[in-house]
Amino acid sequence: MAKFLVTRILSMTVTAIAVSVVVMLLVHAVPGNIVQQMLGQLGAGSLEARASLESYFGLNRSLPVQYWDWVSTLLSGSLGTSWNRGIPVEQLVFTAFQVTLQLGLLSLAFATVVGVILGIISSLTKGRWPDTLIQSFNILGLSLPSFWVGAMFLVIASQYFDWGPPIRYRSFAQDPTVNLQIMLLPVLSLGLFNAAAISQFLRELIIGTERQEYVRTAYSKGLSGPHIYVKHIFRNVLIPLVSFIGVISIGVLGGVVAIESVFNLPGVGRLIISALQTRDYPLVQGGVLVLAGVTMLVNLIVDVLYVVIDPRITYS
C-alpha cells in the first residue's frame, strides 16, 4: 500500500507538471496579453508604456524563464499574485474553492442518496410500474442540461412561489440559513442529472449481479431473499458503485462551472473564466493546477476506498 501511494503521488506530480506546461504553452500561444488589455482600455498606449509594463509583468522574457520563475514561486509555497486583482492567487483560489467544494459535495450527497434509493427500488421491482417510472426518470434526467434546469428552477420559484435565493453570497460559517437557501436550487439542479446516472447504473449492476452463479447457489442453499440481497448482492455491488460515484464526482466538478454562472456563485469555475478573459496568467495557472490536483486526489481516494471495501484487492 505504501509503495502504491508513493508511485501514485509521483505520477500525480508528473501529471501536474505536464498540465502546467500545457496550460502555460496554450496561454502564451494566443495573441493578446494583459498589457494589451490594460492599454486597450486606456486607448492606444505608446510603445514605451507597453514595453515597461511587459517588463513589469516579466512578459518580455523567454517562455522557459517565465515558467521557471513560476515554478520557483510554487516551490516557495505560493501560487503568485493575481495580475489583475493584486491579491495572492492562493487566497483567491482558496476562497472560491470553498464555494465549489460545498456545492459539489452537497450535490454528490444528494445524487448518491436519491440515486441509490431509486436504483434499489427499480431493480427490486424490475419490469413492474415503479421500475418503469424510475427508468423514465433516469432517461429524462440524463437528457436535462443542469444549467438550464437551474435557470428554470429560478423562474418557477419566482413566478409560482414568489421566492428567490438571497442575492449576496454568504458562506456556511458566516450565516448557515442564508447559505443553505443559496445552495438549495444549485444542488437540486446539479443533483438531478447525477441521481439519474447513479440510479441507472445501480439498476443494471444489481440485475447483472442477480444472474451470477453464487447468487443461484445461495438460493439453492435455501437462504432467504433479503439475506442474499444484503449479504451477497449489495456487498459485491459496492465496489463498482464506489468507482462509479468517483467518476460522477469528477463530472460534478465539471457541472459546477456552468451552475456557478447561473446562480452567480463566487466559485472556482467563474474565477478561472474571468481570469482567462482578463489574461491573468498567474490566476489561470494557479486555478487550473489546483483543479487538476483536486481531480487527481478524487481518483486516488476512489482507488484507496477499493481496498477498504474489498480486502481481496491489494496494491503492490
Partner: protein, 295 residues
C-alpha cells in the same frame, strides 16, 4: 448492425427489400426505446435539413417594435429583446447546434478510431504513449477541459469544435483500442498473418470493419452529452457567438431576461432536452440489439 443482432435469434437469412422491412419492423416493435428514439431523431433531422419550411420568420429579422412579446399565435415561442422570433431562431438553431456537435464528434470518432486501431493492434511503445496522453485528458472533467480550451483560445464555433474534439478523442480511442485488442486475438487475424497478408492490410481492411459498429454506437451514446457541453459553452459565452442562432447562445442572451421574458430561455432548453432524449433512446436501443443481455 441491425442484421447482426437478429442473426443470433433467427438462422434463416431473409433477403430482399420486403424481408428487410419486415425484419426492421420486428426489431422496432420489440424495442420501444429504439422506436421512440428513431422518431425523435428523424424529426430533428427533418428540422435540421429544412428549417425554412417550419420557421415563419428569418432567424435574424430585427423588429424593435415587437420586442419581448410573450408566446402567441403569431410568435409561438415569443420574441426576444430586439424583436426576433424565438421559434424561428430555435428552428434554425437546430442546424447550428446539432451540426456543430455532429462535426465535433465525427472528427474525434475518426481520429480516435485510427489511433485506437493502431495502438490496439501494434501495441508496444505507441500504445503506451497514446494511452498515457489519453489518460491525462480523461482525468479532467470534460466540461472544464472544454472551458479552459475555449477560454484560452477565444470563443467561437471553430474553437468550440476543437475543444469538443480534444474532449472526445480519448473516449473513441478507448473503445476502438479495446475492440481491436479483442479482434486481434481471433483466429482470422492469425490466419491472415500466416497467409502473408501485411499487418496494415489486416488492420485497415478486416479488423476495422468489425469494430466500426461499436464506434457508431459510441457516437450515439456520446452525442447527448456532447450536446449538453456544447450548449453549456454557448451559455457561458464561450461557444457559438451571437447573432448566430445556436441553442446555447440563445440561452446566453436570454439570461438577462430570465424573469421578464422566460420564453427566450425555456424553448432552446427544451430543444436540447428533446435532442438529448431522442439520441439517448436511440443509443440505448442500438445497444440492446447488439447486447440483449441485462435488460
Amino acid at each position: 448492425m441491425i442484421d447482426a443482432g437478429l442473426e443470433t435469434t433467427t438462422y434463416r437469412p431473409l433477403t430482399g427489400a420486403r424481408a428487410a422491412l419486415r425484419r426492421s419492423w420486428r426489431i422496432l416493435s420489440t424495442s420501444r426505446d429504439l422506436a421512440i428514439g428513431l422518431v425523435l431523431t428523424a424529426l430533428l433531422a427533418m428540422v435540421l435539413l429544412f428549417p425554412g419550411l417550419l420557421a415563419g420568420h428569418p432567424p435574424n429579422d430585427i423588429d424593435p417594435s415587437r420586442a419581448l412579446l410573450a408566446p402567441s399565435a403569431q410568435h409561438w415561442f415569443g420574441t426576444d429583446e430586439i424583436g426576433r422570433d424565438v421559434f424561428s431562431r430555435v428552428i434554425w438553431g437546430t442546424r447550428v447546434t446539432l451540426g456543430m456537435v455532429s462535426v465535433a464528434l465525427a472528427i474525434p470518432a475518426l481520429i480516435g478510431f485510427v489511433l485506437g486501431l493502431v495502438a490496439g493492434f501494434v501495441g508496444g511503445p505507441i500504445d503506451n504513449l497514446v494511452s498515457r496522453t489519453v489518460d491525462l485528458i480523461l482525468s479532467f472533467p470534460s466540461m472544464i477541459t472544454a472551458v479552459i480550451i475555449t477560454g484560452i483560445l477565444g470563443p467561437g464555433l471553430r474553437n468550440g469544435v476543437l475543444a469538443l474534439c480534444i474532449v472526445y478523442i480519448p473516449m473513441f480511442y478507448r473503445v476502438a483500442r479495446s475492440a481491436t485488442m479483442t479482434e486481434a486475438n481471433l483466429s482470422y487475424v492469425e490466419a491472415a498473418r500466416s497467409l502473408g497478408v501485411r499487418d496494415a492490410t489486416t488492420m485497415f481492411k478486416h479488423v476495422s470493419r468489425n469494430i466500426v459498429g461499436q464506434l457508431v454506437i459510441q457516437f450515439t451514446v456520446l452525442f447527448p452529452a456532447a450536446i449538453q457541453i456544447a450548449a453549456a459553452l454557448g451559455y457561458l459565452g464561450l461557444g457559438v457567438q451571437p447573432p448566430t442562432p445556436d441553442w446555447g447562445a440563445i440561452l446566453n442572451q436570454g439570461k438577462n431576461y430570465l424573469f421578464n421574458a422566460p420564453w427566450i430561455s425555456v424553448f432552446p432548453g427544451l430543444s436540447i432536452v428533446v435532442a438529448a432524449l431522442g439520441l439517448t433512446l436511440l443509443g440505448r436501443g442500438l445497444q440492446n440489439i447488439l447486447d440483449p443481455r441485462g435488460r
